[in-house]
């Protein structure tokens, strides 16, 4: 029952990604070819507004529904893992036209090719878990 809000949030976000064409392989291609503004507008406005929102939340000391002050944890200050991992993910993002969120939503559309992408992504995550001690971070 405690997860019902996340089910509703997931349905809402799936619709936003769909109607915003964020799940479109063509939009991702357009972005990586620097031919259109759409994806930059989507991500850019989300980030700018998000930065204002987080700053305001911290400044006003707004609490979450459990009464805990909202304060997103800082990210570990490594260097290599973000460049290497980010680049590897970018390869997959441009090939399939989908980051993790859209993979799920596209399966809802009946694009069964993305079910293969999802299973492979779970396998890739497993592979990382196995190799993690050997990788530079």
């Amino acid at each position: 029952m405690k997860n019902i809000p996340f089910l509703i949030l997931g349905i809402f976000f799936g619709i936003v990604l769909s109607k915003g064409e964020v799940i479109s392989w063509f939009r991702i291609q357009e972005m990586f070819r620097f031919d259109g503004f759409h994806m930059y507008g989507v991500i850019g406005s989300a980030v700018v507004l998000g930065a204002v929102a987080i700053r305001s939340i911290k400044a006003l000391g707004i609490k979450d529904r459990f009464g805990v002050e909202i304060s997103p944890a800082p990210i570990e200050r490594n260097f290599k893992q973000y460049i290497f991992g980010g680049t590897i993910f970018g390869l997959g993002w441009a090939l399939t036209g989908a980051c993790p969120g859209p993979i799920y939503t596209l399966i809802g559309y009946g694009y069964w090719g993305y079910a293969i992408v999802l299973i492979s992504a779970v396998a890739g995550t497993f592979l990382y878990g196995i190799l993690k001690p050997k990788l530079p971070h």
Partner: protein, 183 residues
């Protein structure tokens, strides 16, 4: 003109993504989607093979419920919200993709790669693309939602490094790998 059924412009979509992120914070979580892939490994028993997957996934069940919602949201927009129409991409991208042999521009993704017909020919692209997504997001500890949205909005410079990486990889895949895969 129909505000709901027509494609939504970026200045509506961006703020709705911000609202989703803020709702995650309100419900006590950080915004991120790729970690769901890790939790699936854990549910499937990957803890037998690596400490990385040794934790109680029930504490993270919200993430798995959220992605079920993403699937339902996709189905609802396809069935009732006029989803999956032709995408009005720029002429330059269209020409470049036609040059690569893409012929179906009528939906969100080319049917000949991702839907039915000749999916078999593209299994290498689907599998390798998926493995790169799963491996890379865990290595970088986040994907577009965790780094490009949540991390940048929270002014975390490692997230900026990750986003630079997304583009380095994306450009290599677009201009070097894609022509090899879809030939």
């Amino acid at each position: 003109m129909n505000l709901i059924l027509d494609p939504w412009p970026w200045y509506i979509v961006g703020p709705l993504i911000t609202i989703t992120m803020v709702m995650f914070l309100y419900f006590g979580q950080s915004f991120g989607i790729s970690s769901s892939l890790k939790h699936m490994c854990t549910v499937a028993g990957a803890g037998k093979f690596s400490d990385f997957f040794r934790y109680d996934w029930r504490d993270k069940s919200f993430s798995l419920v959220f992605v079920v919602g993403l699937v339902i949201g996709g189905w609802l927009s396809a069935a009732y919200l006029n989803g999956n129409q032709a995408v009005d991409i720029s002429e330059a991208t269209r020409l470049a993709l036609e040059g690569l042999g893409i012929s179906d521009f009528n939906h969100y993704a080319p049917d000949d790669i991702f839907a039915n017909k000749s999916i078999g020919n593209n299994i290498p692209l689907l599998i390798i693309g998926g493995v790169l997504i799963g491996f890379g997001t865990r290595y970088a500890n986040g994907c577009t939602s965790g780094h490009a949205i949540m991390g940048l909005a929270n002014l975390q410079w490692p997230s900026l490094l990750a986003v630079v990486g997304f583009f380095v990889g994306g450009l290599i895949a677009t201009f070097v790998l894609l022509p090899i895969f879809i030939n």
